[in-house]
């Protein structure tokens, strides 16, 4: 079990060891969240590596990763706990045949044995390796009632179960909240967190990420891929710009097809890996892709 980072540089090194290439600014936010024990709120477009941060933290710090995937209508039963009703009813039936008093039956029915623990409650339980990393993924998919409930849980680190009592965490978990910004999260929740907007990476950083995550791709191909994707983003006409996850997928796809350097045919064939909207593909396929590729090649040649 590793200890928490003691400085921003330490946090940066921690992320780097987990093969996550981060800016110093992200490392600052991570360090603050870890040392001051507040949640980390990561916002950004889809495919920019928000979820990855939590996974890397859990892996490097040797903690358990507990993931709560949010969706519309998420309620206490799916997020915190639920009683195992069928088992309880069978237990009641069995007890009816015996001679036990009502009080004993009651205390047995509502005990830990019949409690199904969901992610939030699991995160509050003590763990030998240290407080776990709680990843609350895509919080913008839920609605306001759940946000209000989460606010309560995150501030006091406790949940109350009427039949059992209050369960409080001995050590507060490391909380990472991600959002795709399809809905504005209320300020009350953001106020408790350290906020960071994860942007698309610049060329140098993207190249390094590709080197780490797609090592099978030849160096020249990686350079061309990064330059092409940066150009696509800079043009700003796409409905959905490709994220870093799409770049990595594209590099994998191209190396799977044994492409050593980008050609217009290769791009047209694999454009669906990079762009996910038909409007965008129609815009880029064919002549536009050729033009961008020519520019990329010219710039790379000039740089060398």
């Amino acid at each position: 079990m590793a200890s928490l980072p003691t400085s921003v540089a330490d946090a940066l090194a921690l992320l780097a060891k987990g093969r996550y290439v981060a800016d110093r600014s992200l490392a600052t936010a991570v360090y603050l969240a870890l040392s001051l024990k507040r949640p980390l709120f990561l916002e950004g477009e889809a495919g920019t590596g928000k979820t990855e941060v939590a996974k890397v933290l859990a892996e490097r710090l040797g903690r358990k990763l507990i993931r709560l995937q949010c969706y519309e209508g998420l309620d206490v039963a799916s997020a915190v706990y639920e009683w195992n009703y069928p088992r309880q009813m069978i237990e009641i039936r069995l007890a009816e045949t015996g001679q036990e008093s009502k009080g004993t039956v009651e205390s047995e029915i509502f005990s830990d044995k019949f409690l199904i623990k969901r992610p939030l409650l699991q995160a509050l339980e003590p763990d030998a390796a240290g407080p776990p990393v709680l990843l609350i993924d895509e919080l913008d998919r839920t609605d306001e009632p759940f946000e209000a409930f989460l606010l309560e849980v995150l501030s006091d680190h406790q949940v109350s179960i009427p039949e059992l009592g209050t369960i409080k965490a001995t050590e507060p978990p490391i909380v990472v909240i991600t959002s795709n910004r399809t809905r504005e999260i209320h300020d009350a929740l953001k106020r408790r967190c350290f906020y960071y907007w994860i942007d698309y990476p610049d060329a140098a950083r993207e190249l390094e990420i590709l080197r780490l995550k797609a090592p099978g791709a030849p160096a020249e191909l990686s350079r061309q891929v990064v330059a092409f994707v940066q150009k696509l983003r800079a043009a700003g006409e796409l409905f959905k710009q490709p994220g870093i996850a799409e770049t990595i997928d594209w590099a994998h796809a191209l190396s799977q097809l044994d492409v050593l350097a980008l050609t217009p045919e290769a791009i047209n064939d694999t454009l669906g890996v990079l762009l996910k909207y038909q409007d965008d593909i129609a815009k880029i396929q064919g002549s536009e892709a050729e033009r961008l590729l020519a520019q990329v090649k010219a710039e790379l040649a000039a740089a060398q």
Binding site: T28, L36, Y85, P162
Partner: protein, 408 residues
């Protein structure tokens, strides 16, 4: 970033952070005293060794949204450049402060106002006299940037608007959500509530039921404010103000030659103050119309942020477009596919024998679910009633319109 770092002596730094927070607050960022304490704690944890780290530490605490970054950035560079300059400013000793700006970049207006706080506004906004031209049924060939003054609302109009709001409070058909609520006639059995009641009562198990809780979907209003719509603009703004203050999950946008989000200015409770704020925020009143371009911007920047959860979109425009409908069909199609229901409100429908001849209108018509007139408060009420019935989505209100024409 230059090498100057803030003074490491504890007391001075804490005071400076507090002043910085006050500047940010005056510039519009919601920064309360709790955040200031959080900032001090954070700075103590990270240390003031490097200016970059200091910047990002304060950023992590004070910035809540992506759009606040720019103001924070400018404020930080101005503030932490020269602490002495700042002390003088805060003491309000200088009547007018020339703050040196890096490479002539324009400081954001809000930040400039915040730094000049406390001084009287010598240069008031220029009032322009313009001739009132009835620009209905035309579209202007060039973009006219104008400011607009609103007359105050009369009592009669106020009460009429309140009536409309009362009706609105019941309207906008509710859709079932994925959240369950207790309902004695529900379709599902609520095991949790059943067993809990069982604990208390004993005896026969009384089954509790639950069903999906209905909720009105989010509402997005896109309102045309070009010259041809100018006589309806005021009434629409009153309507929008009533709607926004009545319910949550409403967003309002105005477009002419550019798109402006006016949700926040309209949230002010007092209607006149709200309209003043809107007048200040929007620059292209009664100018030309470029529907396609504005819709493209909406689709690109806002649609994924505000059209979630099956939103209803009210598109208020007469369809007269300077660009003659270029690119309009595609943007309208994307808008239609991204929302739950698209309703077109057109003031020109009041004229009998109206036929959509302009290319703009022809481009829009196939992609709306409903097509209704709106030119005064009466027809607004009709629209409100229409929102109350949950209309099924139809691809092509054009077919219905053709039927209407055939009928008479």
């Amino acid at each position: 970033m230059d090498g100057a770092t803030p003074s490491p002596s504890g007391g001075n730094l804490v005071a400076n952070i507090m002043y910085f927070a006050r500047t940010l607050r005056a510039a519009g960022l919601p920064v309360g005293p709790g955040r200031v304490l959080q900032a001090v704690e954070a700075v103590r944890a990270v240390g003031v060794g490097s200016r970059d780290d200091f910047y990002w530490t304060l950023h992590a605490v004070f910035v809540n949204r992506r759009d606040q970054r720019l103001i924070f950035d400018q404020a930080f560079h101005v503030f932490w450049r020269n602490p002495k300059l700042l002390e003088r400013m805060m003491g309000l000793l200088l009547p007018e402060l020339q703050v040196p700006r890096e490479d002539g970049a324009e400081m954001s207006r809000r930040l400039a106002e915040a730094l000049r706080a406390g001084q009287t506004d010598s240069a008031s906004r220029p009032h322009e006299d313009k001739a009132e031209v009835d620009a209905a049924m035309t579209f202007s060939p060039r973009e006219i940037l104008q400011t607009k003054d609103f007359e105050k609302m009369s009592t009669a109009e106020m009460s009429a608007a309140r009536d409309a709001v009362k009706k609105l409070a019941l309207a906008l058909a509710e859709k079932p959500t994925r959240r369950f609520a207790a309902n004695p006639r529900g379709a599902r059995i609520d095991m949790r509530a059943t067993l809990r009641a069982q604990l208390r009562a004993g005896g026969l198990i009384a089954l509790k039921r639950k069903d999906r809780a209905p909720r009105p979907p989010p509402l997005v209003v896109l309102c045309d404010i070009s010259g041809s719509m100018s006589r309806y603009t005021r009434i629409f703004l009153h309507f929008l103000h009533a709607v926004i203050n009545d319910r949550d999950r409403v967003h309002a946008f105005l477009f002419g030659t550019r798109l402006t989000n006016i949700t926040r200015p309209l949230r002010t409770r007092d209607v006149d103050e709200a309209l003043d704020k809107v007048a200040a925020a929007v620059e292209d009143w009664s100018g030309g119309t470029r529907i396609g371009q504005c819709l493209a911007e909406f689709n690109h920047r806002w649609s994924r942020r505000v059209l979630g959860q099956g939103a209803v979109v009210l598109f208020i425009s007469d369809g007269l477009d300077r660009d003659a409908g270029v690119g309009l069909a595609r943007e309208m199609e994307r808008l239609h596919k991204s929302c739950g229901r698209l309703i077109w409100l057109n003031p020109l429908l009041r004229y009998a024998g109206f036929a959509p001849k302009s290319l703009g209108m022809k481009a829009i018509l196939p992609h709306v679910d409903e097509f209704r007139p709106v030119h005064n408060l009466e027809s607004l009420k009709a629209v409100v009633a229409a929102l109350a019935e949950s209309g099924t989505r139809r691809l092509g209100a054009a077919a219905e319109w053709a039927e209407m024409r055939k009928a008479g």
